[in-house]
Symmetry: C2
Subunit: 327 residues, 2 copies
Amino acid sequence: MSDIPRAVIFHEEGPREGLQIEKQIFPLSERIELVNALGETGLSQIQVGSFVNPKAVPSMADIDQLFAGITPRKDVRYTALWLNEAGFRRAMSTQNVDISAFLMLYTTDALSQRNNNCSVANMQQRQRQWVQLYQDAGKPIESAYIVTAFGCNLQGEVPLSVMMDSVRFIVDLSLEHGFPLPRIMLADTVGWANPEEIKRRVGAVREAYPEAKLGLHLHDTRGIGAANFFAALQMGVDLFDSSVAGLGGCPFANHANSHGAGNICTEDMVFMCEEMGISTGVDLDRLIEAALLAERMFGRSLTGKLMHAGRPKRAPLRSAMQQTSLN
Amino acid sequence: MSDIPRAVIFHEEGPREGLQIEKQIFPLSERIELVNALGETGLSQIQVGSFVNPKAVPSMADIDQLFAGITPRKDVRYTALWLNEAGFRRAMSTQNVDISAFLMLYTTDALSQRNNNCSVANMQQRQRQWVQLYQDAGKPIESAYIVTAFGCNLQGEVPLSVMMDSVRFIVDLSLEHGFPLPRIMLADTVGWANPEEIKRRVGAVREAYPEAKLGLHLHDTRGIGAANFFAALQMGVDLFDSSVAGLGGCPFANHANSHGAGNICTEDMVFMCEEMGISTGVDLDRLIEAALLAERMFGRSLTGKLMHAGRPKRAPLRSAMQQTSLN
């Protein structure tokens, strides 16, 4: 228990994760409003969207306009995702984008083919080019994602040894190219992790590379994301990707094998932290407002819970008597 | 970690928790079908409903017909809730009811008044009558619930000392009346618990009464129920109340302070256990079927996640390629 960090950082993924999966394209003004609302919550990093093929992801076609439209705060980083050099170059030339350079490794050929049209090994080779690209641009490499680090819906089990191959590749690459080891982000992309496996895999990286900084990108695909988050806290992990209102899944089409569900919900996890005395730097009331804004925008009930239940009222509320239950 | 139990028992609360909160009264045949489906999952105990004032809870008015209509399995206990002697007597005289006698303590006057029209102290006194009632009926007292053991939406904070007063009352009552100490059920009725507080309060009971059996009745009101569940597992707790599909909350009216949200979701928690090698005796595929049946019955998307995402497919699925994500 003593490993639980005193402070936790959340990287907000809602605008990207939530919108990339939607067929509906929301008005630009609403997307700008959501990003701006998130910018006022104390979150230090917000992933606004992806510079990807607009044919594959139509909702990201006007990503440059979205970035141009926001009112950036100086203390907030507005980041973006890209999957190739062209995407990176677009991001570099777009107003208000805070280039948070990252590497991306896959554990299964199936998902790598699906997302990048190349094998795991090819994607590794591409990372050498990405490193060169980042170094030429003078951008420090901040993080390295290991996608489907816990399991893959397309290919099945991802053994720990396969995940560790990706970790080792990142370490070797940093030595080879002489850049500081980026934060290793283990992504439970499609919700295969469980609390014990979180502990086992985080522990394995720690044991092999004690100097490595670690973060987790968690999804609540199967209802145990909050438990996985707590298990990671117990291992001392202090950085998480998450999505406001639990964005990233669609309640109208999320039946078995249709697609993955949303990230762990930022405000619910911030709530857990704050209740346990872990500081997050986030104004929870403002974050709940942003979640409710997202819900109005999406026009349907989103999966976040705190936004619906409200925060516990600690002061006596005898006169209010609004809430009860038979058991 | 070594305290994690090898086996966990789930007491299914969905039919009671899910239906008592609904304004809609579902056809009797559908409710019977749901209970019967749950009876085929391997769950050992299912709370079918409440013998309470039909004016206060119209959905439970025909509870005797519901019990009469089910097809009971011999290895399943079909239990009921009551709030007073009249309810207990109705339960006793109803077909198929497995009388699992319980005590009920409150930690706040506000909720006790709301649910029972009496103070915490009065409710304690009533428990003496309940004990007599159970003893006269020859029914062993199996459990003792401490309602809002972690906090109360009506009255606010519930200090640990107040919760422990209830525990002590139960212990004293068992000594006074000469019955074995029932399993003490700490109920997070309205979702105030967090993982550290689970550990603190379970630990406090354990320290004061090492011989006491403990169980938890958890709600996922604020999105951290799965983490609370995992924290309890780490403390060796091996019995939980839960609801299929996460029943107990209404997504159409669950805005702040309207009412509490559902229990932790049975199939999601069974999934967590099974993934971690903890046996539950539950056939997860059948339980998911029951959850989907509940969803069809309720006619809206319920909060359970596994039922929508499906179980991880461990075997290679290259030909299927149904599921992916950009990250």
